[in-house]
């Protein structure tokens, strides 16, 4: 009874958050004369989009590292699989020739959009439907491909322990990158070149006939997809599977003694985490509007790992919160550190290119050293706790 009430509240809160995002995105066209941060071109929205994408990947990594206790560093590799799957499937046939110009076209000379366009039509509402359904299918497939590869690689590597698992998955991601960059596979992966020309977040903006935007949805879409995925992960964590994962993390031997099949649960967690990393990869491709293996290096995995740690290993809301702080700091708030600054005739020392990253890494070291539990530790920001703290207190007394 009580549980249901909390769930309803959580759903309502999520709906309100999504509505706020839509409103925020369109507010500048409703109320003119607002400060620049609210304009659609403001860095605010770029940061929000990137953070929405990264928060999904961070939560998926947390599922594996924080909740199952499997230290994997293969996230960038699975994102790469997702990004390429999405990109290859979604480049319209008409632009394949141009995108794959070095290889004289792509091996698959069609795309999901073209197939669906044949059913729903390519313009107007039909075009919109085929694009939306196409994106959903491609994103799910992106996750499936990543999950499938995780299943294959899981057989050998999941038998390894902690650091060895980490280094093996890291190696796996590097191998994948080398394969995707291989010129011989250019007909499929476009070799070293980036794949572009597929629908991105901006394609979801509703425009009138003349191409003017009526309703902007380009920030809302990544939020929606990430939220849905994160909710699924949270539900999983709270299910009996999730409890099994946590017991494996806390004590493998005890978990096994309680009748939990270690290998199959580890595999399940690995595949699910990779599935969502793949979805995150597809979203990342939509965010940067291209897919290129060069971007998915181990540096990216480290970045996500740092986010997870800053947020608190074992806290979903911590990961999400940390992602927004991390992305906003590194891409926006600290940017002023990169340019020389004069106060009167006094030149502020140290400020020049690259200083932002130095400050940023010092901040990270401070967090790692002095708040080794992260912002949230293992706790969650819970709506229930926010809303009825008083009633909980009563409960505890009883």
């Amino acid at each position: 009874m009580k549980q249901k009430k909390i769930n309803l509240r959580a759903l309502a809160a999520i709906a309100v958050m999504l509505l706020i995002i839509i409103l925020l995105e369109n507010i500048s066209s409703i109320i003119p004369g607002l400060p620049q941060v609210f304009w659609p071109t403001s860095p605010l929205f770029t940061v929000l989009k990137k953070a929405a994408v990264y928060s999904l990947v961070a939560v998926s990594m947390n599922l594996l590292n924080g909740f199952t206790g499997l230290f994997s560093l293969g996230q960038a590799g699975f994102m790469l699989l997702g990004a390429y799957t999405y990109a290859i499937l979604m480049v319209p046939a008409a632009s394949k020739e141009q995108v794959y110009y070095l290889f004289g076209g792509c091996a698959f000379n069609s795309s999901i959009i073209d197939i669906l366009g044949g059913i729903f039509g390519t313009t107007g509402v039909g075009g919109a439907i085929s694009m939306i359904i196409g994106c959903i299918i491609a994103i799910i497939l992106a996750g499936c491909v990543a999950g499938f590869f995780a299943y294959l690689i899981g057989f050998p590597v999941l038998r390894l322990k902690s650091d060895y698992l980490a280094i093996a998955t890291l190696g796996f991601a590097e191998i994948l990158r080398a394969i995707f960059q291989w010129q011989k596979l250019g007909k499929i992966t476009n070799g070293a070149n980036m794949i572009k020309g597929f629908p991105t977040f901006s394609s979801f903006n509703i425009t009138d006939g003349a191409g003017h935007e009526i309703v902007r949805l380009s920030t809302f879409v990544p939020f929606l997809i990430s939220t849905v995925c994160i909710v699924i992960i949270v539900l999983l964590i709270n299910s009996s599977y999730g409890r099994a994962f946590k017991s494996i993390r806390d004590d493998e031997v005890a978990a096994e003694a309680m009748g939990i099949n270690l290998f199959s649960h580890k595999m399940l967690s690995f595949v699910i985490s990779s599935f969502f990393a793949g979805v995150g990869g597809a979203l990342f491709a939509m965010y940067v509007a291209n897919a290129q293996a060069k971007a998915f290096t181990s540096v990216m995995t480290y970045e996500i790992l740092l986010i997870v740690v800053i947020g608190g290993i074992g806290s979903v809301s911590g990961s999400v919160l940390a992602t927004f702080l991390y992305v906003a700091c590194s891409e926006w708030w600290l940017r002023f550190l990169d340019s020389e600054l004069y106060i009167g005739s006094f030149k502020v020392p140290f400020l020049r290119n690259g200083f932002r990253m130095v400050v940023f890494s010092i901040v990270i070291m401070v967090i790692v050293l002095f708040f080794s539990q992260g912002i949230m530790g293992e706790k969650e920001i819970s709506l229930a706790a926010l809303f009825d703290r008083s009633s909980r207190k009563k409960e505890r007394k009883e």
């Binding site: 071109t41 080398a178 290129q292």
Partner: protein, 401 residues
Amino acid sequence: MRVRKVLATVMAGIMTFSLCACSSSTGSAPASSGSSSGDTIKIGVFEPSTGDSASGGKKEILGMQYANSETPTVEVGGKTYNVELVMADNGSSADKAPSAASELVGKDVSLVLGSYGSGVSMAGGPKFEEAGLAAIGVTCTNPNVTAGNDYYFRICFLDNFQADVLANFAIDKFSAKKAYCLGENGNEYDQGLVVFFKQVFEAAGGEVITDSFPTNNSDFTSYLNKAKSEGADVIFTPVSIAYAKQIMEQAASLDIGIPFLGSDTLDDNMVLEATKGTNLQLYVSTFYQEGGSEEFDKGIKEYINGNSSALTANGGNDTISAVTAMGYDAYYVALEAIKAAGSGDKAAIKSAISGVKYDGVSGSIAFDEVGDAVRDTAYIKTADTATGTWEFEKVQTGSAK
């Protein structure tokens, strides 16, 4: 427990505060609806100053800064505006590029120059397109930068042209029959040039061996020895500066004896320095040759030597890189576009660019319907290993089309 809670609250507080601070600081600027405010027109500089391409990006910025110091104002409609360069570092990486691009968009620039490196230009391009902001690529040579993006223009030649020039040069100068091409795996610049070079060279009856090395590789002796043992007549290495430097240094110690061909990236004084005092033969195709414009050469050298940070950015000496000349020209093309548009309005500038014609130090610049520069010549120069300078070899045109 409590401490952490307090901390979390404080952090959240800081977060909201800085958000407010950001919004108020940007909000206090005059929020005019046009893209020029007051007496200043802002030009965005979208260049890498960190990451792999930092060295090239900085030299390109140097050209723009010099041009800006030379002509800091532009007269539009009888009124004189100050021109301000607004920098954004795209970090040489495609995942940092979109936010750098949107930072420029957010700072209300009238148009954008850059970037060095095609990958970042392609990643930032959609942001500019979305914002209706025109960008002029300076030395991004990949065909896909401008294709499919109405708002991206460029003033340099394309990869396929450059590869064509070099393949023809190899055949003309060395009567080469067999070429060994080495590029970085996963780098679209290297691989694109290699593929185009191969097409032209094989069409002319030559044989091409292609090879790639993994990112962050430092041992090139195996590749160079391989080129030697397979009997290559020329080695084509269209790689980024750091790798080119390594390759030259290792080739020198191997006493390789095969001439090297390089693309525009190798036209850099770091590469030149690596060849100094050796018996290497290095030929590069480029946009500009020192001596092309006496006035520019003199001015930029003075500028570089008179400014310690400029000197560091140029790698510690005053050899003029072609990208610097290109940056210089790009700035003037931008001014021409502003003049043609008659205002600092970004939409007007965008539609004016395609009509701009400008005679720069690197040659005359005009745009075709895709937004690419119409160029039919490239300069080939060779490294004088005794003095450590570039020497002009010839002007090479592509194969007849």
